[in-house]
């Protein structure tokens, strides 16, 4: 599964997650663009796909000394080389998650939750959005909450539950009035369609959870 010659297990897991996110983003380019066309400018899927293409192109060269180091390289690549709002936002998320992991070579469930919380804080610091502003945060934050609450049930189970929450929360952004991003310019017209970033979080969470289940059952 992992191309990591060093075979570090936490690193391999993180690689799997990043690769799954990347492949999901690329596979859904058109769908995500379509979502962004409703009250946005239609480039969300394009930006995300071009960004994760760059990540995959440079995948083998990224620092693998620790999961944190690896994530920081991924984040730097996205933050610096991808345009639109999504480049800096997603890049910052990966960067902050990596920083939160520090030099650890093994990651517990609690570590993962802490990393995701750091990502959220980074997104908020960058873009100034609050929960309820109709952004990807509105899918990401409830999913992390659920992940944390279910950690005791085991990683695969907790992830699956969190992914379902993300998907549902993404759909529920339909009812919200956008206060951030281009969708906000349309005012009341932003109500009635889901936020593209939130939907992407839902779709990606489902794919990551499935990949994780495969991977961990294969390991067992």
């Amino acid at each position: 599964m992992s191309r990591d010659a060093a075979g570090k297990s936490a690193c391999a897991t993180v690689e799997l997650v990043v690769r799954t996110i990347a492949e999901t983003a690329i596979a859904n380019e058109t769908y995500f663009c379509q979502l962004d066309s409703v009250v946005g400018d239609g480039d969300f899927g394009y930006s995300l796909a071009r960004g994760f293409e760059k990540v995959l192109e440079n995948f083998d060269g990224f620092d693998r000394s620790s999961p944190g180091a690896f994530l920081k390289k991924v984040g730097l690549m996205i933050a610096s080389r991808v345009g639109g709002t999504s480049g800096p936002i997603w890049g910052t998320a990966f960067l902050r998650a990596g920083s939160a992991a520090g030099a650890k070579t093994a990651l517990s469930g609690a570590d993962v939750v802490a990393m995701l919380r750091a990502a959220v804080a980074g997104i908020q610091a960058r873009g100034g959005a609050s929960l309820g502003d109709k952004t990807l945060l509105d899918a990401l934050v409830p999913a992390i909450d659920r992940l944390e609450a279910d950690l005791a049930s085991g990683g695969a189970e907790a992830l699956a539950n969190a992914a379902q929450v993300a998907e549902r929360a993404a759909a529920e952004t339909s009812g919200m009035l956008a206060k951030r991003g281009r969708a906000a310019y349309t005012g009341e017209r932003s109500i009635g369609s889901p936020d593209p970033g939130a939907v992407a979080i839902g779709v990606i969470a489902i794919r990551v959870s499935a990949a994780w289940r495969n991977y961990s059952s294969a390991k067992e």
Binding site: Y46, R50, V82, G87, R182, A184
Partner: protein, 331 residues
């Protein structure tokens, strides 16, 4: 897709190459960063003016690089803010003793890219200041939202600070000037069609003939509301009402009036709108002292127009009239 294009993903780079080839003596093109720069920039005797933003708004901003306006522009893909790297590398290349001025239209993506790039450049010891442009009255401003967009009015900020920079103004003075210009500039736009980003290949939204989008931006995002298409007189009333009451402009004011085409509307129609607006303003005692009719900030091939008013004073008028040597020209 009714477009002249090869690989849609290469749309911006191929366009930029064309601009550079058309102006070999004046401009340089750096493909790594989608960068169009003055061949003679930077200079330590002059603040460097850098503008970014997405592609698809041409002539803004890449065709406005040259003596008297921008020193460099580093656009992103169509409708996407440039990556941080482009802005950072451009800022480094434009490093000047007198500093670098970032002109940023008020969009989340653009602000983020320029903010991060500025932090990185400052860490390298480069002086950077930022000017946020937000002239679009269609967006209701508030502390809890992203605020107004920067649209066609950005031309006036670029022209004024460009001219002032050319005559040696320092960074603080340019920031103050740019803020002043932005503060007296108001724009409102209207669209009669959607537009098609090359990589998407289909229109961003559907719009039947006989409809119009009021309060449109420049990224193909829908406007504030859709209404039945009006006559040219009605369109001008709607645009003027929104713009004039916002600043507000009033009797005795001297203004520059811009009718900006959004890409698919021919210049004949723009002059038709101009004539109506000019007369309406005159009737309100507002004197149009300078006219701008044509394309300044577009949304690909969208049919539509925006109206911009700028309150003039003698200093501003002189800066607007100062010469500039840019790719966007007639001869």
């Amino acid at each position: 897709m009714r477009k002249f294009v090869n690989d849609p993903k290469q749309f911006a780079p191929e366009m930029l190459k064309g601009i550079a080839l058309a102006n070999p003596a004046e401009l340089r093109y750096v493909p790594e960063y989608n960068l169009i720069m003055r061949a003679d920039a930077p200079s330590d005797r002059k603040v460097s003016i850098v503008q970014g933003s997405g592609s698809g708004h041409e002539p803004a901003h890449v065709m406005l690089v040259g003596k008297g306006m921008l020193d460099a522009a580093c656009p992103g893909d169509v409708f996407s803010a440039p990556p941080v790297d482009y802005v950072y590398e451009t800022t480094k290349l434009m490093k000047s003793e007198k500093g670098v001025l970032h002109l940023v239209n008020n969009y989340t993506g653009d602000r983020l890219a320029f903010e991060m790039a500025r932090e990185m450049a400052e860490a390298d010891g480069i002086r950077v200041e930022t000017l946020i442009i937000d002239d679009d009255v269609a967006v209701k401003d508030s502390n809890y939202t992203v605020g107004r967009r920067g649209v066609a009015g950005n031309f006036f900020v670029m022209k004024a600070v460009g001219a002032a920079a050319e005559s040696g103004a320092d960074l603080e003075a340019l920031v103050a000037l740019g803020k002043r210009v932005n503060s007296v500039t108001r724009t409102m736009g209207i669209a009669l069609s959607s537009c098609t980003p090359p990589a998407k290949g289909s229109p961003l939204f559907q719009m039947a003939e006989g409809e119009m989008e009021v309060g449109i931006g420049i990224h193909g995002e829908p406007g504030r509301r859709r209404v039945k298409q009006g006559t040219a007189n009605e369109v001008v009333s709607l645009l003027l009402e929104a713009v004039v009451t916002d600043l507000p402009f009033g009797s005795g004011d001297r203004v520059a009036l811009m009718i900006n085409g959004l890409g698919g509307t021919p210049i004949g129609e723009l002059y038709l709108l101009y004539g109506i607006a000019h007369q309406r303003l005159a009737a309100q005692g507002i004197q149009v002292a300078r006219s701008y009719v044509g394309e300044y900030c577009t949304s690909l091939e969208m049919a539509g127009a925006s109206l911009t008013l700028v309150k003039l004073d003698d200093e501003l008028m002189n800066l607007l009239l100062a010469p500039a040597v840019i790719p966007y020209r007639v001869f």
